[in-house]
C-alpha cells in the first residue's frame, strides 16, 4: 500500500494505517525536531505532539499528496511551542575547552563544533527551522516557504540573517581561539 492510500485511510479513521504512517515517519520528524531544539527530550515531546496532532487533524488535510510537508509543518510548530514553553533559548552557558594537542588545526575543529552549537543557540526557533530544512534536509527556499506557510521572501531573509549570525559568531570564536593559541605558544 502506498503512502497516499495510507494517508487517505488514516484520514477516514483507519488506525492501522495511521500506525504505519507514524512508524514510517517518526525518525524523520525526530531528526528535524532534535536539530531545531538541540535537546533530545524536548525533541521527543515535539515529535509526539506533532504526530498526535497529525492524527487528530488528518481529516482536514486537503492535499494528501502534501502529507510530508504538512507533517513537517506540524513538527516545526510543535518545536516553536516547545521552545517558547521552556524559554531556555539564550540561557545556556557552557565552557568549551580548547585543545592543546598538536594535531592539525585543532582550534578549527573545536571552534567549529562548540562555536556552531553556541551560535545556533542564539538563533530564534523560526531561524533554526529554516536553517535545518535548508542545510540538512536540502529543501529549496520555495519549498521551505510552503512547508512553513510563510512567504518566500520571509524564508530567504530568515536564512540570510541566520547564516550571517552563525558566520559572525564562528569567525569571532575562531579569531579568539587563534589569538589564544598564539599567546600560549
Amino acid at each position: 500500500m502506498d503512502q497516499l492510500d495510507l494517508v487517505d485511510r488514516a484520514a477516514r479513521g483507519d488506525r492501522a494505517a495511521f500506525a504505519e504512517l507514524a512508524t514510517g515517519h517518526i525518525d524523520r520528524c525526530f531528526a528535524l525536531a532534535v536539530r531545531i531544539l538541540r535537546d533530545r527530550d524536548r525533541a521527543q515531546d515535539a515529535t509526539q505532539q506533532a504526530l498526535l496532532g497529525a492524527w487528530r487533524d488528518l481529516p482536514t488535510l486537503r492535499e494528501p499528496e502534501r502529507f510530508d510537508a504538512w507533517l513537517y509543518r506540524l513538527v516545526v510548530h510543535a518545536c516553536y511551542t516547545e521552545a517558547r514553553g521552556t524559554r531556555r533559548w539564550n540561557a545556556r552557558i557552557r565552557l568549551h575547552p580548547i585543545s592543546n594537542d598538536p594535531a592539525p588545526d585543532p582550534a578549527h575543529a573545536v571552534v567549529d563544533r562548540a562555536g556552531l552549537e553556541d551560535a545556533f543557540a542564539q538563533l530564534t526557533p523560526e531561524q533554526r527551522a529554516v536553517v535545518v530544512l535548508h542545510h540538512h534536509h536540502g529543501y529549496p527556499l520555495t519549498e521551505i516557504a510552503g512547508i512553513l506557510g510563510i512567504p518566500v521572501g520571509t524564508a530567504r531573509s530568515r536564512l540570510f540573517y541566520a547564516v550571517r549570525q552563525l558566520r559572525t559568531v564562528l569567525d569571532g570564536d575562531l579569531e579568539t581561539a587563534v589569538t589564544t593559541g598564539e599567546r600560549s605558544a
Binding site: I26, A31, R42, Q44, T60, H77, H135
Partner: protein, 260 residues
C-alpha cells in the same frame, strides 16, 4: 574591514547538522501508538466540487443552494444579534493575563478557537473540562479532595497532567466542597496557611489577589524544585478550586477551563 566569504561554511554547517542523532527513541513511538486511538479526529468539511460525475447543472444548483444557505444564515445571525442582550458571553472566561506562549497565529492546525496540538480533558472526579497539550498524559483523580489536604504531584485527589517525557512538566487541578458558612475570603486565607507548610511551600507573602473565571482568586509564583511554578486558588459558589504547575501551561489551560 571586509569579511571574506568562506566557501566551506555551508558544507561545515551541513556536516555539523548531520552529526546529530536521527533516530527517535523507541519510547516516542510507543507513546504515540498508545495515545492516538483515544484522540478524536476532527471532522472534515470537504465538498466534492470537482467530481467527474458532477454535471454543470448540478454544480450550479449546489452553488445556488450554498448562496441561499449563506444568505439565510446571515439573516438569522444578524437577527439574533439585534435582539440579543448587550451582556457578555454566557460562558465565563478567565481573567488571567494571556501567556506570551500562546499558539502562533499561522499554526497549521488552528481551527476555530482550538489550540493546535491540544486536546480536551473532562474530569471524572470534578466534572470540569479543560484543554491540555496532546503530549501531556492526563491522570484523573481517583478520590475526592479531603479538607485540610494540599495539592501535589502524588496526591490521588489531583487531576494530573504530565509531560510524556521525564514527567518534567506538571500541572495539577483539584476541587473540594467548602464547609458550610465559610466565606470565600476565609477559605482562601485558610488555603494560604496550608500551602505555606506544604512540602513545596508557597510563602504567605507570595500571594496576590486576582480573579479567575470572574471569581475571587489568589495567585502565587514559586519554585517547584528547579522549575518555576504558579498556583491559583479560587472559589466558585460552594467549591474551592486550585490549579498549580508550570506557569506557561497553567495560564493556557485556564483559558479553556469550563465548569461542568
Amino acid at each position: 574591514m571586509t569579511r571574506s566569504i568562506d566557501p566551506l561554511f555551508d558544507p561545515r554547517l551541513a556536516d555539523w547538522l548531520e552529526d546529530d542523532d536521527s533516530t527517535a527513541p523507541e519510547q516516542a513511538l510507543e507513546i504515540v501508538l498508545a495515545s492516538f486511538p483515544s484522540i478524536k479526529q476532527r471532522r472534515a468539511w470537504r465538498v466534492p466540487w470537482r467530481t467527474t460525475s458532477m454535471t454543470s447543472t448540478l454544480r450550479l444548483g449546489l452553488a445556488a443552494a450554498v448562496v441561499i444557505a449563506a444568505a439565510l444564515g446571515s439573516v438569522y445571525f444578524l437577527g439574533s444579534r439585534s435582539t440579543a442582550p448587550v451582556a457578555g458571553p454566557e460562558t465565563p472566561t478567565p481573567t488571567v493575563a494571556p501567556s506570551p506562549t500562546a499558539a502562533p497565529s499561522d499554526s497549521p492546525a488552528a481551527v476555530g478557537t482550538t489550540r493546535p496540538n491540544w486536546t480536551t480533558f473532562t474530569s471524572p472526579q470534578y466534572g470540569y473540562t479543560v484543554d491540555h497539550p496532546l503530549a501531556f498524559q492526563a491522570a484523573p483523580a481517583t478520590e475526592a479532595w479531603p479538607l485540610g489536604e494540599v495539592v501535589g504531584k502524588e496526591e490521588p485527589w489531583v487531576d494530573k497532567f504530565f509531560s510524556a517525557v521525564g514527567q518534567t512538566t506538571f500541572v495539577g487541578i483539584a476541587s473540594q466542597q467548602l464547609p458550610e458558612g465559610l466565606t470565600a475570603e476565609a477559605a482562601l486565607t485558610a488555603y494560604q496557611q496550608q500551602v505555606a507548610e506544604r512540602f513545596c511551600a508557597v510563602p504567605l507573602d507570595a500571594w496576590t489577589d486576582t480573579t479567575v473565571l470572574d471569581s475571587p482568586a489568589i495567585r502565587a509564583e514559586f519554585s517547584f524544585g528547579d522549575s518555576p511554578a504558579v498556583e491559583y486558588a479560587w472559589i466558585n459558589g460552594d467549591r474551592g478550586w486550585v490549579i498549580s504547575g508550570n506557569p506557561d501551561v497553567v495560564e493556557l489551560m485556564l483559558e479553556s477551563f469550563e465548569y461542568e
